[in-house]
Amino acid sequence: MNLSTAILLLPDALLLLAPFVVLFVDLFFNPRHEARPVLRALSWVLLAVGGALAAALCCGEREVVFLHAYRVTPWMLWFKVCFTGAALVAARMAEGCFAVADGHPARLTRPGEFFTLLAFAAGGMSVTVSALDLITLFIGLEMATIPLYVLSGFYRRHLDSAEGAMKFIIMGSLATAFVLFGYSLLYGATGHLQFSAIAAYLAEHPGDPLVRAAALFIFTAGAFKLALAPFHMWAPDVYQGAPLPVAAFLSTASKAAAAGFLVVLFYGPLAPVRPALAPVFAAFAAATMLVGNLGSLRQTNFRRFMAYSSIAQAGYLLLGFLAEREYAVGALLYFLVVYLTANLAVFFVYATVRGEDVAAVNGLSRTNPALAAVLMLAFFSLAGIPPLAGFNGKFWLFAAAAGAGRYWLVLFAVLNSVVALYYYMNVIRAAYIEPPAADARPVKLPRADALLLFVLVALLLVLALWPAFNRAVFAAAL
């Protein structure tokens, strides 16, 4: 193995090392269990992962296979960029929750455990997208999910948090049981757990009914993880109960991981079965968009609002799976990068104003005009208004679905985007037109946070207007 292939494995190695670095720092260099030293350790490791990812993307080979069980290619690196970035921003958001006064409802304790679990989840997601056999895939998915169960119940003394975590665990375990049943049928039909052997079997027997049943079970589990209607019921409750940074991580990195899981299987070994499942994908996409958008309309709690909003976005995401590989993977990746950026910016604004309700940003343009501008641009991007990258993201997905001949579904998705525009605009209107609450004080933003928000918003503009990025993502997906 030479340097240009080994460099592809470096980001994963660093990311899997991150939780242990955090634990080590917490154990030996953090006698009073403060948030700052562990956050600093995690941030530096994640930045190193980011550097390694950049190096792997620009000077790595096209593919490296490690022990027949682990594979890294450029499109997987883009998924890892999503996970690392979301973990970095969520960790930064969490710092504010550790800093608030004792007794505040948003107060978090035990930073060492929190950041360790966050790093473990990001590492698990990274393993999921790189898996090359069913065992690795299963381990990666569990490693990504189990820390999230703990994180979503991290307010141990809040009933909401424990109740949300319980619902998450029950739904997640059910999804695990389904996905494992699917794997067992796949193993029974093909006799192998290796993706290459499964693909070889399917190339000879494309219509095997056992494999179709397995694919349906696996897709159902993916639908649970991605919160697609009708398996979306857990998401709003979990987001509402979870700490805000965890909700942000769930609605971004966890969605990307679930999408990555489906991409790995349905554009990997199960690719011959995917056309047969296309009507199922289309039905789920339509139902999910509708449920997410109608659900968002009547929410007052911010995290529930964002939960329904991200359900709707998952519906758009599913449109990509209708297309052939060369369009689909690039469109999905582009959409995910842009959606994650905008969603993290919105969550960051709410983390700064410490609001439980959507109305917490009322009059934000007077208390902090810069934050209000960030909120506006991020929501414009989520809604898909042209100069921002969100428009391109949706455009590629809709184009992929239209390319597969699903014109009615694209029309339905466009109509749904109009509904989404209404409720996103409503928040922007409140931030600019409503008066601030009577006890509102100017919101101060630490310099590091301001820099992070600037980067997120700049990405939303640059990614849309910089053709090299489009080309890079689509080239990576080939």
Binding site: D160, A162, A165, M166, S184, G188, G191, L193
Partner: protein, 101 residues
């Protein structure tokens, strides 16, 4: 014993798990139902590995991974059950209505 008998058994156990999941209201019973579904999966793997698979070792090893990882999952689930129980919260899913809308 043949493959069909094992698969029918596994399907029955899995169906019992799904039924128990839908029918029960107590969290512990729901967790037991999930365990039943996972056991059905393990029967499936072992049966396929014994009777049919080209690569029998892989299926047997997978079962060990399932046992290890799902017990980690259940450990977290029981920790949350204890957190709920300590706060006098009913362990009844029908009454978990604090979050809704």
């Amino acid at each position: 014993m043949n493959l069909t008998a094992c698969l029918v058994l596994a399907a029955l156990v899995f169906a019992c798990g799904v039924f128990g999941m839908l029918r029960n209201r107590h969290i512990i019973n729901i967790l037991i139902s999930i365990e039943l579904m996972l056991n059905a999966v393990m029967i499936n793997f072992i049966a396929f590995a014994h009777f049919r698979a080209a690569d029998p070792t892989a299926g047997s090893v997978f079962v060990i991974f399932i046992i290890a990882l799902t017990s980690a999952e259940m450990a977290v689930a029981l920790a949350v059950v204890i957190a709920l129980y300590r706060q006098r919260h009913p362990l009844d899913v029908e009454r978990m209505k604090r979050l809704h809308g």
